[in-house]
C-alpha cells in the first residue's frame, strides 16, 4: 500500500445520521431530568431536619433543667442528728 498516499482517506463519505438518534437523546435527557430532585423539595427536607434538631436541643435543655432542680432537692443539708419522728 502506498503509505504517502493518505489521500485515500478523503474518499470516506460523510453519512446520514439515523433518524432515531434524536429520540434516544431526548429520552435519555428526560430520564436524567426525572433523577434530579427539585430545589424546593431539598429545602423542605433541610428545614424539617433543622426543625427536628432545634426541638431536640430545646427538649434536652428542658430535661436538664428538671434534673438540676431534682439534684438541688437531694442536696439539702440535714443539720441535726435526730432520727425520723423522734
Amino acid at each position: 500500500m502506498e503509505l504517502d498516499n493518505l489521500d485515500i482517506l478523503k474518499n470516506i463519505k460523510h453519512v446520514e445520521v439515523p433518524e432515531a438518534l434524536y429520540h434516544s437523546i431526548e429520552s435519555r435527557l428526560e430520564a436524567n431530568r426525572k433523577n434530579i430532585i427539585p430545589l424546593y423539595k431539598v429545602g423542605i427536607a433541610a428545614s424539617l431536619v433543622l426543625g427536628l434538631m432545634l426541638s431536640q436541643v430545646y427538649f434536652l435543655g428542658l430535661l436538664s433543667k428538671i434534673n438540676q432542680s431534682n439534684n438541688e432537692i437531694e442536696l439539702v443539708e440535714v443539720n441535726n442528728n435526730s432520727l425520723y419522728y423522734e
Binding site: N11, I12, E16, L21, I25
Partner: protein
C-alpha cells in the same frame, strides 16, 4: 442543565439569542456522528458516542465560554468522548480475552474494532479497512491528527485550535503519525 429547552448563544452582532435543543442538534449532528464514526469505525458505537456527546453539550452548556467557538468546543467534546469510549471498550475486551484464554498473545489483533463503516465505498473497502485498522492502533494524538487532517479535511490552523497546539506541533505530530503507520505496516 437548562430545562426550558432554550439555550443562550451570542450571535455575530454580539447580541444574545436563544436556540433550541433541536436547533443545536440539527446543526451539529453530522459533524458529531461522522467524527465518532471515524474513531470507532462502526455505526452502533458511533450512535452511542453521539448520544453521549449531545447529552454532555446540553448538560455543560452553561460552562461554555460564550466568546469561544461553538464548533471547536463540540469538536473537542466529540474527540474526548470518542477516545474515552475506545479506552473503555478496549479495557473491557482485554480483560475478557485474558479471562478466557489466560494469555496475552494475539490480544492486539482481537482489540481491533468490528469494521462497519458506511462511509467507505465498496471497491476501496478492503484497503480502507486495513488502513483504518492501522490508524486505530496509533496513539491518541496521532490518530486524532490524521482523522482531522485527512478524513475530516480540516485546515491545519483549525486542527491546531481544536487540539490546543501550535500549527508547527500539528505538522510534526502528523509526520510522527505517518512514521508510526509505516512501522505498523
Amino acid at each position: 442543565m437548562i430545562t426550558n429547552g432554550c439555550y443562550p448563544i451570542v450571535g455575530g452582532n454580539n447580541k444574545k439569542n436563544f436556540v433550541t435543543q433541536k436547533d443545536i442538534y440539527n446543526q451539529y449532528k453530522n459533524l458529531v456522528y461522522n467524527l465518532a464514526l471515524q474513531y470507532c469505525q462502526n455505526r452502533q458505537d458511533a450512535e452511542e458516542i453521539a448520544q453521549d456527546v449531545f447529552i454532555k453539550v446540553f448538560d455543560k452548556w452553561q460552562t461554555f465560554r460564550k466568546d469561544a467557538d461553538l464548533k471547536t468546543w463540540i469538536y473537542r467534546i466529540t474527540i474526548n468522548q470518542s477516545l474515552d469510549f475506545l479506552k473503555h471498550k478496549q479495557r473491557k475486551k482485554r480483560s475478557l480475552i485474558i479471562s478466557l484464554f489466560s494469555v496475552d498473545s494475539s490480544i492486539e489483533e482481537n482489540l481491533l474494532p468490528d469494521f462497519d463503516h458506511p462511509g467507505t465505498l465498496m471497491e476501496q473497502d478492503e484497503s480502507l479497512k486495513i488502513l483504518m485498522q492501522k490508524i486505530y492502533r496509533l496513539p491518541e494524538n496521532q490518530k486524532t491528527v490524521i482523522i482531522l487532517l485527512k478524513i475530516e479535511d480540516l485546515p491545519q490552523r483549525e486542527v491546531a485550535e481544536i487540539m490546543k497546539l501550535t500549527e508547527g506541533a500539528i505538522e510534526s505530530l502528523f509526520q510522527r503519525a505517518k512514521a508510526s503507520l509505516k512501522k505498523i505496516l
